[in-house]
């Protein structure tokens, strides 16, 4: 294989597709850590010049981990529609980019094309997109899903109410839920990251959140983001589960480091369809994030963007209600600063949508990254313009359990009012009936958690 170009009189050569894909990325500390980053700014662009001419069939035939070795590869490859793939196999990555951006390319045509793409193709075209390309391209694609309500419809923006607490205190969590509801948060899910992963504790939180949903007849679903095996136990025991959650990784080895396999997720999905209380048909919730495979030494020498694209291919198998990247959570050794977190957030959101899954983003950062609240507010504005389905909503964005910062109850409300967006339709009707929202704007009564103390 010869992969070579000239740029400004200098020759650049790349030994194989793996090396080319790594060097074509925007600068990321994680790619540097993995030893796959470009050595210079010019080499980065040289890699992109070559990548733009790579035909899609070559990417199809070069998954990040070989088909025989990796069940994530098998899930993605086996789901490719051979007829659609035949139509596009000779397109170059550069042509795919221009096709996606063309004014004649509608959302419907992109949806159909998704069926012929593998994760490596999606990652490749993403590397050729500028930030505004990623916003514009993603904004074309709407992916809706339904559980107790409809998420992802045009003109809407939802949020996951994330009422975490360091010791899972039900009183504390309930107080945070009331505050969130009072700001119109929670249409995607009331979803708790538990400190205690035990069945007893998880089932107790499921019962408590379900009770709030029932008492107030809230058109939403609950979720306790324990390990999937704990949630399966809850489902079997009859706990009221809205969504079944799991963190996933882009390779079999990465999934193993999370203690999961395709077989286990298949089983969880069957249980969810059978036992979850909402009407569905979408019951699954996945979280992802660039760098997770690398941190488990499960990246097989590939770049973190490509591994991330493979997450979405795996998620698609389960017709999820929602998927979000937790983009800044992993830390500065993978995404160093605000600029890298913003870029990765836009990439992940675009890749998820191009894969055909309902995509949200946890626009966030840890305290050891070179980022602050301003930088994720910026990212949230960009992602809202890109048609992101939902954000996290946490009291002032400060998660007292996971010790990181993300978007807040106030942020979702602000973004809705700024972009003239509404909550999920059923949820909006509910908020209006309570008098907390009118025409998409919070009312005088909104923002007071004691509003929910009267029942």
């Amino acid at each position: 294989m010869l992969l070579r170009t000239k740029l400004h009189g200098k020759t650049y050569e790349f030994s194989d597709l793996r090396v080319l894909m790594g060097k074509a990325n925007e600068e990321k500390s994680g790619d540097r850590l993995a030893g796959v980053a470009a050595d210079s700014a010019a080499e980065r662009i040289a890699a992109r010049l070559v990548l733009a001419e790579i035909p899609l069939w070559l990417l199809y035939e070069t998954p990040a981990v070989p088909y025989e070795q990796d069940e994530v590869t098998r899930v993605i490859r086996d789901a490719v529609d051979p007829e659609i793939f035949r139509e596009i196999r000779d397109w170059t990555v550069g042509e795919l980019r221009e096709w996606l951006l063309a004014d004649t390319t509608t959302a419907e045509r992109i949806h159909r094309l998704s069926g012929g793409l593998t994760a490596e193709m999606i990652a490749a075209v993403t590397k050729l997109m500028s930030n505004l390309d990623l916003v514009y391209g993603a904004a074309k694609i709407r992916v809706t899903s339904h559980c107790q309500n409809t998420m992802g419809a045009s003109g809407t923006l939802a949020s996951r109410l994330q009422p975490n607490h360091p010791t899972d205190s039900p009183e504390a969590i309930r107080a945070e839920i009331y505050e969130g509801l009072a700001y119109g948060a929670g249409d995607s899910v009331i979803g708790i990251n538990p400190a205690d992963d035990s069945y007893t504790s998880v089932s107790r939180l499921l019962e408590m959140t379900y009770q709030v949903i029932k008492d107030w007849e809230i058109p939403t679903q609950n979720c306790v983001l324990a390990h999937v095996t704990t949630q399966m136990k809850c489902l079997k025991a009859g706990s009221p589960v809205g969504l079944v959650f799991q963190s996933i990784a882009g390779s079999q080895k990465g999934c193993e480091s999370f203690g999961i396999s395709v077989g286990m997720l298949d089983e969880a999905y069957e249980l969810a369809k059978k036992h979850c209380f909402p009407s569905g048909p979408n019951f699954m919730y996945f979280e992802t994030g660039q760098g997770s495979a690398l941190s488990a030494d499960a990246h097989n020498g590939w770049d973190q963007l490509t591994l991330e694209a493979r997450n979405y291919g795996l998620a698609k198998r389960y017709h999820p209600f929602q998927v979000n990247t937790v983009v800044g959570f992993i830390g500065p050794e993978y995404l160093y600063d605000a600029r890298q977190i913003q870029r990765a957030g836009l990439e992940d959101h675009f890749m998820g949508k191009l894969t055909g899954i309902p995509m949200g983003v946890d626009a966030c950062y840890t305290n050891h990254a070179r980022a602050d609240q301003n930088s994720i507010e910026n990212l949230a504005v960009l992602l809202t313009a890109a048609g992101c389905n939902y954000f996290m909503a946490i009291p002032m964005g400060d998660d007292s359990m996971l010790s990181y910062q993300t978007t807040s109850y106030h942020d979702t409300a602000t973004l809705r009012q700024l972009f003239k967006l509404k909550p999920a339709a059923e949820f909006e009707t509910w908020l209006e009936s309570l008098g907390l929202m009118k025409n998409g704007v919070l009312t005088e009564q909104a923002g007071d958690p004691t509003f929910f103390l009267r029942r």
Partner: protein
Amino acid sequence: MDDARINEIVEEVIRQLRRAGWMEGPSPSAAVAVNQEIPAGSGGAQTRALSLRGADQAAFSLDLPDPAGAELRYRPGVNHAKDPAALKELIAATPSRIGVGRAGPRYTTFSQLLFQGDHAVTQDALYRDVDPGLLAELGLFTVQTKISEGKEEYLLRPDLGRQLNDEAKHAILEKCVPTPQIQLVVGDGLSATAIESNLRQIYPVLVEGFRTAGLSLGVPFFVKYCRVGVMNDIGDLLHPDVLILLIGERPGLGRAESMSAYMAFQPKQGDNDADRDVVCNIFEGGGTNPLEAGAFIVQFAQKMRQYQASGVKLKLAAG
């Protein structure tokens, strides 16, 4: 001084007052008397009467209380709450920032600035070194990992933070006793503040505890630019039965004082988190108290020796 300049000064004073939450109203007016309640959620502490007629810069004075203290931090920010008494109870139920109120859909000025203040102290903790005076006081000598270019490299290269440099290996072999029953090591990790806040309390508990238990204690030392994985290198050099690493955790918002104790039985190259145990959230006032944590660690180390295992293996062995 011309009229334009005087007007400028007056307007600036009014802007400052409005920023401090002591004044409302859309446009500055040069001669008004303000006597108003401070809005809920602002940083001011009492009602003030201010005459702006002839206000001059020399007489202007601001002396604000600490917004990070419990009194202001947990003060309800919601105007016209349905149930003000219950609002206080909800706020008291959680460390999360609820009951904060709003300015349109945005934060109140007070809650936003408090958040920024909390973030600022975590940033300062992260980029600071542990006080050498404290290390000298406890008699810890200092070695370093393969990080040589400072905090930025430390954050970017966790792999290098898990390996001792050559000088460190020599110093440890020279100064320490091999095969101790207990080896104590302190590392900066992601928060110098965590070590400074807890080490003085926990250290004597550990030393006395192990002495009482009749266990031999190796020569303790401090590792700069330390990651947890460095325990494997130390295990290979000194072969302790139980290695205990006290290390600063990643700072939470406004809380940089949280420390962890990682423990491993006969650590060696190739070990990972599954081979270790950890006592986390060690800090006074809300976390595991350092004195209690010390006592627990002494007990737990004995359990490791009894079962000759740590981590998942210990869980399986001890049932």
